[in-house]
């Protein structure tokens, strides 16, 4: 059956977006190849994701679509790969809004024998590189406002600094998950500089997820998040390599899920077994659609997802 003509017209109007995305994908691949990274493809349908309190997987038969390629990529690190990246689709149920879509593209990269600060250096170089490739310069405009991906302009605030300054409390001292989320979106994020990349670094240990705690400060975890103009672009860790602690965190996340009225997820035992062999590593997940949205001068993901449903 032929699709209705309205669909063809709508897709034809998206030609520029298709070309920009292809150009961005190509730039990302060149960036990592030139630095000796191996591009990998790991399965999209999994028997188990990493259980996370607030991330719901989309079922696929008896399995689930991946919410992230993280566990498989860490198995590759454990097998001896030292620099790997992957660009591909992930799915998260129920996430729908101006900056969310249930299916989206993640870029993840990992470095063995490195930590979250080496990943930060990669991220700075990557953003400057793709801005030059797509917009011709590190400085450009997004929705009428100047933004710069110049490496020297990046700001870095600890989560404690940002919360003390903008919300009046230190979440690393006495953690309150509800208050943290609410203050983050209503007080901290709106107060961050909007015209250049900003990193919030060293999260309270209860928000470590798959990051290791700081060796000299176990109340905080080696995790950072990247923001631009109020949009969260990436999440990076010095990876946790302790299988016992990782298992305990998964069990804790599942307990929090059940408290929320959600089903717990099975644990990936292959991953947990491999973790003992994984070298200390740094890793990151970056939302490619959001990056493209900024580079394509769109104000929401609607502008860069030609097949967006609803």
């Amino acid at each position: 059956m032929r699709p209705p003509p309205a669909d063809s017209d709508a897709l034809r109007a998206q030609r520029r977006v298709l070309e920009l995305r292809a150009k961005l994908n190509d730039a990302i691949r060149r960036f990592f190849r030139e630095r000796g990274f191996l591009e990998v493809d790991t399965p999209v349908v999994l028997p188990a994701n990493a259980p996370e309190t607030n991330i719901d997987a989309v079922p696929a038969g008896a399995c689930w679509f991946r919410t992230s390629p993280e566990l498989a990529m860490k198995r590759l690190l454990a097998s001896g790969c030292d620099k790997i990246f992957q660009l591909g689709p992930v799915a998260r149920a129920g996430e729908h809004g101006r900056w969310h879509h249930p299916e989206f593209t993640l870029l993840e990269w990992y470095r063995a024998d490195a930590g979250y600060l080496e990943i930060l250096a990669d991220a700075k170089a990557l953003l400057a590189f793709v801005a030059k490739e797509i917009r011709g310069a590190t400085d450009f405009t997004w929705q009428g406002k100047p933004v710069s991906f110049a490496q020297e302009l990046w700001d870095k605030f600890t989560v404690s600094q940002a919360f003390i300054q903008h919300a009046g409390w230190d979440p690393a001292q006495k953690f309150d998950p509800d208050r943290f989320d609410l203050d983050l979106v209503t007080r901290v994020e709106p107060a961050l500089p909007a015209d250049h990349p900003v990193v919030l670094i060293d999260y309270p240990a209860p928000l470590a997820a798959l990051a290791r705690r700081k060796p000299d400060d176990p109340a905080r975890a080696e995790r950072w998040e990247l923001y631009l103009g109020g949009v969260e672009l990436a999440n990076a860790y010095s990876e946790l390599t302790d299988p016992a602690e990782q298992r305990a965190r998964f069990i804790e996340a599942n307990a929090a899920r059940e408290k929320r009225g959600e089903k717990p997820y099975p644990l990936d035992e292959t991953f947990l077994a491999a973790l003992a062999q994984m070298p200390p590593s740094g890793g990151i997940a970056l939302g490619v659609d959001r990056l493209l949205m900024i580079l394509a001068d769109a104000d929401s993901l609607d502008g860069v997802l030609p097949f967006r449903n609803g």
Partner: protein, 189 residues
């Protein structure tokens, strides 16, 4: 009855601490590993002011007891406007501050939708269009049918409105009550 945050959408009417609000804007937000939240802009339906309010996905939100009733405008007394249910003869009063500019477009017996919150009249919605007579304006330039050049005119309630040059005193015009703007001249009687 209560809503959950997933019910939030533009136009939804909710109750917070005894005050009815209408959602005028909302955005789904979900920080990194955090919980889903809805950043809303809400409008106080009693006084018209707006504020920001963020709901968590797990929050329950009260549904206000709001009813709507068709009532006819009856008369004005000082700064009070009286509306009447033509079947039961029940009368309600609304203060001119609640009516805003809408008060200028009322006509005797005009049927309006009166909103009640907890059985108390809260606001009124006029029909989208009303017909009013021009009471005061410069004489019209005959033959000038341009509709993009406007001159000031007054209607019976003293409201000043921009009308095309060809409109004369005594002409009847259609007004959009939502914008307060001239729509067209109408032949009357």
């Amino acid at each position: 009855m209560a809503y959950t945050a997933a019910d939030l959408r533009k136009g939804l009417k909710i109750e917070l601490e005894g005050i009815p609000y209408e959602v005028t804007d909302f955005e789904f937000v979900k920080p990194g590993k955090g919980q889903a939240m809805y950043k809303c802009r809400i409008k106080n339906m009693l006084v018209g002011s707006t504020m920001d309010k963020t709901f968590r996905a797990v929050d329950k939100i009260d549904q206000p007891n709001i009813e709507s009733k068709t009532m006819a405008f009856s008369y004005k007394e000082g700064d009070k406007y009286v509306f009447m249910d033509n079947k039961t003869y029940e009368q309600v009063e609304l203060h001119e501050g609640v009516l805003g500019d809408q008060r200028f477009f009322l006509l005797e017996d005009l049927e309006c939708e009166v909103l009640f919150f907890n059985h108390r009249a809260m606001s009124v919605t006029l029909p989208s269009f009303v017909i009013k007579e021009i009471k005061e304006t410069e004489p019209g330039a005959r033959g000038n049918t341009a509709t993009n050049v406007l001159k000031p005119a007054k209607i019976d309630t003293g409201y000043e409105i921009g009308v095309p040059i060809f409109i004369n005193q005594g002409d009847f015009i259609r007004i959009d009550t939502r914008t307060g703007k001239y729509v067209e001249r109408v032949k009357q009687g």
